[in-house]
């Protein structure tokens, strides 16, 4: 199959395994393109993309923008802090105004879970979810799984532990969906207070001991503590969290096998991940960033192919 089964990328939940395989295969070629002397292709030169960021973002926004520019799309950027949203405009009005400028694809980050699903039902453009509240962050999960595939050649059968704030993390949820669809074994690790209630329904079990989790896994995807989404205190202090759930080099060196460390960024050095671990040979954090551009190029290319002239 050479076409996506979906018209938008709203979440990994809505994708078939064949969609993920197609995105990876396409990303393989884009990875070569972005390592060429000239890193730009003309594929999307007749496409206009709006990046709507209703929530702060650095690397996702840069990564999407770079991917769009490398595909030769026209790009317009919008961030809510400098817009009419602060004057009381609704999401639908904001987006419809932008679409009146003949936009073909909308890449949106929004603090409300389900915002991109809502948008896809109400407007006539392809939607790419760049993170919606605590719901999903599909391109992050795709690039994470792609980085595992790149490192090990295969994702099926690999053991991956996601460490940290699972409750508030859209990266965790999308990662669980994606890795499971690809046949990996997924477990999570962190304080019980930061675990969602429905872990069983996702087919995922929980380690409360970090060392035990690291002994088990091939890959540890370490997440940031999302203080901005926490309305109450879920653990006594960051210092205590770092002592119990912080991954450091000493711990990695004490394991019987070499494991891979991933982090979606931004890292809080010294909290979930120590500097010596983040900068060690175990970490593939910068590979994740490079792969992010290739994955986003693949997603945009495949969705653009569905916009008929």
């Amino acid at each position: 199959m050479s076409n996506l089964s979906v018209d938008h990328l709203l979440g990994i939940k809505y994708l078939a395994k064949s969609d993920i395989d197609l995105i990876f295969k396409t990303a393989d070629n884009f990875k070569k393109i972005i390592n060429q002397p000239i890193k730009k292709v003309p594929s999307l030169r007749d496409i206009t993309i709006a990046n709507l960021f209703f929530e702060n973002s650095t690397r996702t926004k840069l990564s999407f923008e770079l991917a769009e520019k490398r595909l030769s799309a026209d790009v317009i950027n919008f961030s809510s802090s400098s817009s009419s949203v602060t004057k009381g405009e609704t999401l639908l009005d904001t987006v419809n105004n932008i679409l009146a400028m003949k936009v073909d694809i909308v890449v949106m980050r929004h603090p409300n879970p389900g915002a991109s699903v809502f948008l896809s039902r109400n407007i006539d453009a392809k939607i790419v979810n760049a993170g919606d509240g605590t719901h999903e962050h599909p391109t992050q999960a795709l690039l994470d799984a792609y980085s595992i595939r790149e490192k090990y050649g295969i994702v099926t059968g690999k053991k991956i532990v996601i460490v940290g704030d699972i409750l508030h993390s859209r990266v965790a949820l999308s990662n669980i969906y994606c890795l499971k669809k690809l046949g990996a074994e997924v477990k999570v690790c962190g304080p019980s207070s930061l675990m969602p209630k429905h872990l069983d329904a996702l087919g995922v079990t929980h380690f409360s001991d970090l060392k035990e989790a690291l002994e088990w896994c091939d890959v540890a995807n370490v997440l940031r503590i999302q203080l901005e989404r926490q309305d109450v205190n879920y653990f006594p202090s960051l210092r205590e969290y770092a002592m119990v759930y912080g991954v450091n080099k000493e711990m990695l060196d004490s394991l019987e096998k070499e494991i891979t460390i991933m982090h979606p960024g931004p890292i809080n050095r010294g909290v979930e991940l120590s500097s010596d671990a983040a900068d060690s040979k175990h970490a593939i954090i910068l590979d994740q960033v490079e792969n992010g551009v290739a994955i986003r190029m693949a997603v945009l290319y495949l969705l653009a192919g569905k916009i008929k002239k």
Binding site: N3, F30, V41, S43, L302, A304, I307
Partner: protein
Amino acid sequence: MIEERQILNQKDIQITIERLCQQLIEHHGDFKNTVIVGVQPRGTFLSNRIIIKLKQLLNTTNLESGSLDISFYRDDLRMREEPIVPEIMDMNLSLEGKNVVLIDDVLFTGRSIRSAIDALMAFGRPKSVELLTLIDRRFSRDLPIQPNYVGRIIDALDSEKVIVEWKEVNGRDRILMVKSD
């Protein structure tokens, strides 16, 4: 009804490739500053054959070559039912200042070659680019693109298809003209 006519058989193809190689040597001498680039997917079958023959004729093992994927440089992404699935891009070389011989099996509308020339430029500024094709459907061009080296010129209607079969994928080498009502 489907009507099938063989244009070239295995022997014809072999002779044609040999003649094309002699013409290439006439123009490129020892190939010191020349790179052979096959257009993916089907041009690479022909370019592989040409490279093997050239190595024999020149008595060398040293010939620079690459396989060029043109998927992302095409102009019809949004006109197709399904997006083109990209092929392997194998271009671990610089084309800066090089003479490039671009190879494809059939020259039809010229649009693939237009995309290929665009794709080539991502690997440096070549000194020159020439085009070699096994079949030239001379009356079907959409763009002003002509080959420098041609295996066989064919006059075909738009409704007729030219199919190139290679031993590597189809079990034998032959070229067919297929006409369907």
